[in-house]
């Protein structure tokens, strides 16, 4: 059985009188250690998939099975525990706590985890050992995103979910972040799911899930992922 499996996931939103089906019967599977990319245009439903996968929202139909557990059956409290222990989240705008230093931001996550990684080691891994005592406002965007990745990794999660991790970054920085994610996937055996509208990124993935109008328009297994250095956009 696959590590992550979505079976006919449907999510509807009510906007006043109108019901919008944001995700309309999505099925896909991702194996442990995969680097998966969910790609699609704005409004294709990829963020909803991310929300559902990240335990931030509940689905209306279907089920999502993560490491053998059906999280679609979880209540709010169980979802909180799921986010707490199983998911590492990397935001588009980093979402660091401004009043905590880089190190403290990472510790914030490691503190609530069951078997966290060593904070300094993780910061070292993302290349921020020298700057760990700086506040977010003293760091560049790329550095902030590295802190965010460190924060997600320090929890030692089952899945690393990244929402447009390069969206707010320039080309070079974005690339270095993607490299970091890819290295993490390869070296740590971490399952990484990146959500992006940037189709160029799909070439570095093991699994590519293309979305359109709330449905998976194409599911591809990439036998020869390109290293980050090889892609351009």
């Amino acid at each position: 059985m696959s590590f992550v499996k979505l079976i006919n996931v449907i999510k509807r939103y009510k906007m006043g009188e109108v019901i919008i089906t944001a995700v309309d019967g999505v099925d896909f599977e991702i194996e442990k250690g995969d680097f998966a990319v969910v790609v699609g245009a704005s409004g294709a439903g990829k963020t909803t998939v991310l929300n559902l996968l990240g335990g931030m929202d509940k689905l209306d139909e279907g089920s999502i099975i993560v490491d053998g557990a059906d999280i679609s059956m979880y209540n709010d409290k169980m979802l909180t525990e799921y986010r707490r222990f199983d998911i590492g989240f990397v935001f588009q705008f980093y979402n660091l706590i401004q009043n905590l230093t880089a190190k403290e931001n990472v510790e914030l996550a490691s503190q609530i985890s069951k078997n966290p990684l060593d904070v300094e080691m993780v910061l070292n891994m993302v290349g921020l050992k020298e700057r760990m005592d700086n506040f977010p406002s003293q760091l560049s965007g790329g550095e902030q995103q590295r802190v965010a990745i460190a924060r997600a990794l320090a929890k030692n999660p089952k899945i690393l979910l990244c929402d447009e991790p390069t969206g707010a970054l320039d080309y070079q920085t974005g690339k270095s972040i993607l490299k970091l994610l890819q290295d993490t996937c390869k070296n740590q055996g971490m399952t990484v799911i990146v959500i992006t509208h940037n189709a160029a990124i799909q070439h570095m993935a093991d699994k590519i899930i293309k979305m359109k109008n709330g449905k998976v328009s194409k599911f591809m297994v990439n036998e020869n992922p390109v290293p980050v250095e090889g892609i351009e956009w």
């Binding site: 929300n51 990240g54 935001f91 401004q98 009043n99 914030l108 609530i112 977010p136 406002s137």
Partner: protein
């Protein structure tokens, strides 16, 4: 005007999209303004209401009372004073009114002349509540409410009576009055009705009767109105000013009038006093003279006695000296005797020795003689021995011849021969011959042998004899020497003996002489002793005579004293009599009225205490609403800043689209203006109605003022609105201008979040390293947003300060009733006796026989007015105990701080503390009091005692006498009840009042309950304070939390996504609130203590002294309630927190 339309649209959308924000500004402004305007309006409203009442009823500007009544000339003179518009004369009388049910009260009856009130010009017009005013004789209109008899109604009849000994018709025409109406009067707006000289000393209620019911010679009170008083508001400075001149003139008139009225009587009194002073002086002089004479005689006797005893001691000393000489002689003779006997004994001893020596010499002589004879004998013996020796020698020689002539050896002699031999031998030595005869010649050998041996023996004997003779000769020679020596000694001894004999004889002569001398001395001593005895006898006689004479003169003087004492008693009686007369005259002089009692409105206790109360509220109003205003300003500031920040992008867009700065800023200004203006208008509209009415209602329990005016005060409305609007608008302006100064491009960029900063406590590694992240974030946040910090600390400290002040006020008031009734008033009740009643029962009967009463004491208790230099008067109970020490069991007079007991002395009165504070006097200063008979006395203060309720002056009866020249009339009994016995109040009162002359019983417990009831209005104050404090805390914390949540919604969403549990999230947000609340609370407790003191200082009423201590419980309540408010807000906010959508975290930064 498209532009304008879209501006309005935008504005209205802004408002409707952020109703919460708009209303929160409105609400805080509303709260601040209504509190500020409402409380500030209370003072003027109270004064306006009272002033309306005073003007409607034409409250007099002066009320003057003449103790002797007013003459026509007085009235004319008063009318002539400049500024007087109208005078109205009247009568009054205090008497007892009995209801149909038999309740007796002391009432003050005032005259009502309908003529005076025609055309609405009457002064002190009674305010009609029900029925009508008296139109005829026998009609009465009573005061309503407050103190009037219970359940009385129109048509009821009241019977008037006066104390026994007086005639009711001596002043009034009717004795029965029918109630025709109920009124109140601007003269009596408080519960005080004044003091009187009947009953228990205080008036219970007042009423108006028809003026013709009075039949008095002169008017005894006059009401005066001033022209200018219509133009001035009561209590205003202008009013005070217009009263001053007429007051001085009236006082001067009064003094002159009284001088005129009392002149003759005064002179008479002075003359009679002087006469008695003279006779007193004469009597005193006589006493002094007699006393001086007797004392002189006594002095002489003393002198005689002294001379006598001096003489006695002198002669005694001489006799003693003689005796001493005698004793000395005696001892000398004794000494001589002793030495004589010693000499005699020595002589005797010498004599005996001499006799012994003589006997020894005689004995020695005889011994010497014996020795001489022996020597002589020895010489003879020696001669004999020598002769014998010679014989022996001859024998030996003979024998030896024989021997030599003997035959040879071996030959034996013949017999003859032999015989011959023997014969020869016979011749020489018969004995031997005898012996040899035994032998025969045959045995000649033997013979030979015998002869040899005999020769040997003889030779031996001879040698021996020779030796013996020699020895004897030697011994004899020795003895001879001895004898000669002894003889020499003897002769020397004889010589010595003779010498000793001569010495002894000499000594004997001396001894005999001494003996003669001693005998002579003894004779002399005897003679001296006899002389001494004689002298003593003579002295004793002389002394006895002297003392007898002295004793006699003493008796004479004593007799003189006795006579003098009798005379003195008479004289003293005369003096006492004179003194009584003098005192009487002086008392009458003292009691002579010296002036009119010119009372301005200030002298009316109701008028002045109402004014003071209004002032106090005014003072409080300056402080309390400050918190609200400060907080309101801060809240508006933060809210508007936040709003502008939230709409950054929009501002940027508008700016980019070409809108100019002012039109963009206008939106925020209009928003702020609308919110604050709406809040202000609603606030003052409600505030002007709510607070003055609420407070006046609370005071309504204490004051009888029928109007309650609460107009809109433009000044306060403008002021509060202006402050509120200005603060809000300038906050909006400041925030929007700050935003507008930046370029549109920057504006459209997400605003860089306020950077994190290191704070001081991070340096303290020990502390910081032990904190977790939420704690660290909290700590950094607290110091990061300073505006919020101050808003919260000010708001919360205001909240807890209000709470503490509220509870502190209660503490202070409760402290009064506790200390007053448990530590100062130790009595349980007072019974008033009618001293005018000649048949009244003794206090011993009334109280002593009551089974409920454990102890009691008698005292004089009078209500008097105390004042200083003609200033404000205060109604005071004057106490004069009959027995000072007993009284201390009922009133514990002590100094408040040191708790040192104060005793009543003879040279000053003890006053209660509040009274001393009101007048600003201390021990040694003096005050004046006016009693119910309108007599005025001045007294000195000797001590200031702790007391909280009412005012008391205590005097010892000695001091009272000194001040008034009167004996106090003991008209009250204070008593204590057995604590452990069941007490039936009404039965007890009935029992007491059944006694003749007992006119009233009041119980301390009733007093206490009444007081507590009056003070229960304070519960409203406390409640108002608690509610306002709660509102304050709510507004502040709600705003803070709201801002915290909206501003940090991303952060919260992020940590939600990170998997923080709800509890952790709320702790993340609330910890900041709680810490700030805590800091605010601590600060607020300091602030509250100051506030409490200020409130107590300004709120204190004249007849009470409040405690100043806040109990620990109140601190606790203040802290707990503040915390409850803050927790409540947090609970409310919890739901808002829960609703924060995690999707927010995915959004871009606005």
């Amino acid at each position: 005007m498209m532009k304008k339309r879209s501006f309005y649209k935008n504005l209205i959308r802004s408002i409707s999209n952020s109703k919460g924000r708009f209303f929160s500004i409105m609400a805080i402004v509303f709260l601040g303004v209504s509190f500020f305007a409402g409380i500030n309006a209370t003072e003027p409203d109270m004064i306006i209401s009272a002033d309306k009442y005073y003007k409607e009823q034409n409250l007099s500007d002066f009320k003057i009372i003449s103790p002797l009544g007013f003459k026509d000339e007085d009235l004319t003179e008063i009318k002539n004073i400049r500024g007087v518009s109208r005078i109205q004369n009247g009568y009054y009388k205090d008497l007892f009114l009995t209801t149909a049910e038999g309740d007796i009260d002391v009432a003050k009856l005032l005259s009502y002349d309908p003529q005076d009130f025609k055309d609405d010009v009457g002064i002190n017009t009674p305010f009609l509540i029900e029925g009508r005013l008296p139109q005829n004789i026998g009609e009465i209109s009573l005061e309503s409410g407050f103190n009037a008899p219970k359940d009385i109604k129109i048509g009821d009849k009241l019977t008037a009576s006066v104390p026994s000994g007086e005639d009711i018709h001596d002043g009034l025409n009717s004795t029965e009055y029918t109630v025709v109406g109920f009124i109140s009067s601007p003269l009596y707006i408080t519960y005080e009705r004044g003091q009187t000289n009947i009953g228990d000393g205080s008036v219970d209620y007042f009423g108006y009767i028809y003026h013709e019911d009075f039949n008095m010679k002169h008017y005894n009170e006059i009401y005066i109105s001033l022209v200018a008083s219509e133009d001035h508001q009561a209590y205003s400075d202008g009013y005070e000013k217009i009263v001053k001149n007429p007051e001085a003139l009236l006082e001067a008139l009064g003094i002159a009038a009284m001088m005129r009225e009392t002149k003759t009587f005064r002179e008479e009194l002075e003359e009679s006093r002087d006469l008695f002073l003279e006779s007193k002086a004469k009597a005193q002089a006589e006493i002094d003279k007699g006393q001086a004479e007797l004392e002189n005689a006594e002095k002489k006797i003393e002198q005689g006695a002294n001379a006598l005893s001096e003489m006695e001691s002198r002669y005694k000393r001489e006799i003693e000296m003689g005796q001493a000489d005698l004793d000395y002689g005696k001892s000398a003779v004794e000494q001589a005797k002793i030495s004589y006997f010693e000499g005699y004994a020595a002589w005797l001893e010498g004599y005996n020795e001499y006799q012994d020596g003589r006997m020894d010499l005689i004995e020695a002589k005889s011994e010497l003689d014996d020795a001489k004879i022996q020597i002589e004998n020895g010489e003879t013996d020696l001669e004999n021995a020598r002769a014998q020796l010679e014989t022996t020698q001859a024998t030996i020689i003979a024998l030896k011849e024989i021997q030599s002539g003997l035959p040879p050896e071996d030959e034996i002699p013949t017999q003859e021969e032999y015989d011959l031999l023997i014969e020869e031998i016979q011749l020489i030595n018969p004995q031997l011959a005898q012996a040899l005869k035994a032998y025969s010649p045959e045995y000649f050998d033997r013979f030979r042998q015998a002869l040899d041996s005999s020769i040997i023996t003889l030779e031996e004997n001879y040698a021996q004899g020779q030796k013996q003779v020699e020895e004897g000769q030697r011994l004899l020679d020795e003895s001879k020497l001895q004898y000669e020596n002894g003889l020499k000694e003897y002769e020397a001894g004889v010589l010595l003996l003779q010498k000793a004999k001569a010495e002894l004889d000499e000594a004997k002569l001396q001894i005999d002489f001494a003996k003669d001398e001693i005998e002579k001395g003894e004779i002399e001593l005897q003679r001296g002793a006899q002389e001494l005895e004689k002298a003593q006898a003579e002295l004793d006689e002389a002394l006895n005579k002297g003392y007898a004479e002295l004793e006699k003169s003493r008796e004479d003087v004593n007799e003189g004293w006795k006579i003098f004492e009798e005379e003195k008693r008479d004289a003293l009686a005369k003096i006492t009599e004179a003194e009584i007369e003098i005192k009487d005259a002086q008392r009458q002089l003292l009691e002579l009225p010296k002036e009119w009692f010119v009372n301005t409105r200030d002298a009316n206790p109701g008028y002045s205490s109402y004014g003071d109360d209004a002032n106090r509220i005014g003072a409080v109003a300056k402080v309390f609403p400050l918190f609200f205003f400060l907080v309101a300003a801060l809240v508006c500031l933060t809210t508007m800043t936040r709003m502008v920040e939230e709409e950054r992008v929009q501002i940027g867009t508008l700016k980019a689209l070409g809108y100019n700065t002012s039109s963009i800023a206008l939106k925020y200004l209009a928003y702020g203006l609308l919110a604050s203006l709406a809040g202000s208008v609603a606030g003052f509209l409600l505030g002007f109605q709510l607070f003055p009415r609420l407070i006046m209602t609370v005071y309504g329990g204490m004051y009888d003022i029928p109007y309650m005016l609460s107009p809109v005060h433009l000044d306060y409305a403008m002021l509060s609105t202006a402050i509120a609007v200005l603060t809000t608008v300038s906050a909006s302006l400041w925030a929007s201008l700050a935003a507008l100064r930046t370029t549109p491009a920057q504006l459209m960029q997400p605003k860089a979040p306020k950077p994190g900063k290191r704070i001081l406590i991070e340096r303290i590694g020990l502390l910081w390293n032990h904190m977790n992240f939420t704690q660290k974030v909290t700590a950094r946040n607290i110091f990061r947003y300073k505006r919020r910090f101050f808003m919260t600390v000010i708001g919360i400290s205001g909240c807890s300060a209000l709470l503490l002040a509220g509870y502190g006020i209660k503490d202070s008031v409760n402290a009064i009733s506790q200390v007053q009734f448990d530590q100062v008033f130790l009595y349980d009740g007072i019974v008033a006796m009618d001293t005018g009643n000649k048949e009244r029962a003794e206090l011993q009967e009334v109280l002593g026989t009551n089974p409920g009463i454990s102890e009691y004491a008698s005292a004089m208790m009078e209500s008097v007015s105390v004042f200083k230099d003609g200033g404000r008067q205060f109604e005071v109970s004057l106490w004069v105990p009959e027995a000072k020490n007993e009284f201390a069991n009922f009133f514990d007079l002590h100094e408040r701080v040191s708790k040192d007991p104060i005793s009543l002395g003879d040279d000053g009165a003890v006053i209660t503390e509040k009274l001393s504070r009101l007048f600003g006097v201390e021990s040694g200063d003096s005050l004046e009091f006016r009693d119910s008979e309108n007599r005025v006395y001045s007294f000195e203060i000797a001590g200031i005692a702790e007391n909280y309720l009412g005012h008391n002056v205590f005097m010892s009866k000695e001091y009272f006498d000194k001040v008034t020249l009167r004996e106090p009339e003991y008209n009250a009994g204070v008593f204590k009840l057995y604590e452990d016995r069941a007490f039936d109040e009404s039965g007890f009162k009935e029992d007491i009042l059944a006694f003749e002359g007992a006119v009233g019983v009041s119980l301390a417990s009733t007093f206490r309950e009444d007081f507590n009831e009056t003070m229960s209005s304070l519960d409203y104050v406390v409640l108002i304070l608690i509610l306002s404090a709660g509102a304050l805390a709510f507004v502040v914390l709600y705003n803070l939390t709201n801002i915290n949540i909206t501003e940090r919604i991303r952060e919260i969403a992020t940590i939600k996504v990170l998997g923080f549990r709800s509890r952790e999230i709320s702790a993340y947000v609330y910890r900041e609130n709680l810490i700030l609340s805590f800091i605010g609370t601590v600060f607020g407790l300091f602030l509250g203590s100051i506030l409490h003191r200020f409130v107590m200082d300004t709120m204190e009423v004249d007849n009470m002294m409040f405690g100043r201590i806040i109990s620990g419980w109140s601190f606790l309540y203040a802290v707990i309630l503040t915390m409850i408010f803050s927790v409540l807000v947090n609970v409310l906010m919890f739901f808002k927190l829960k609703k924060v959508d995690m999707v927010e975290s995915l959004k871009s930064i606005e």
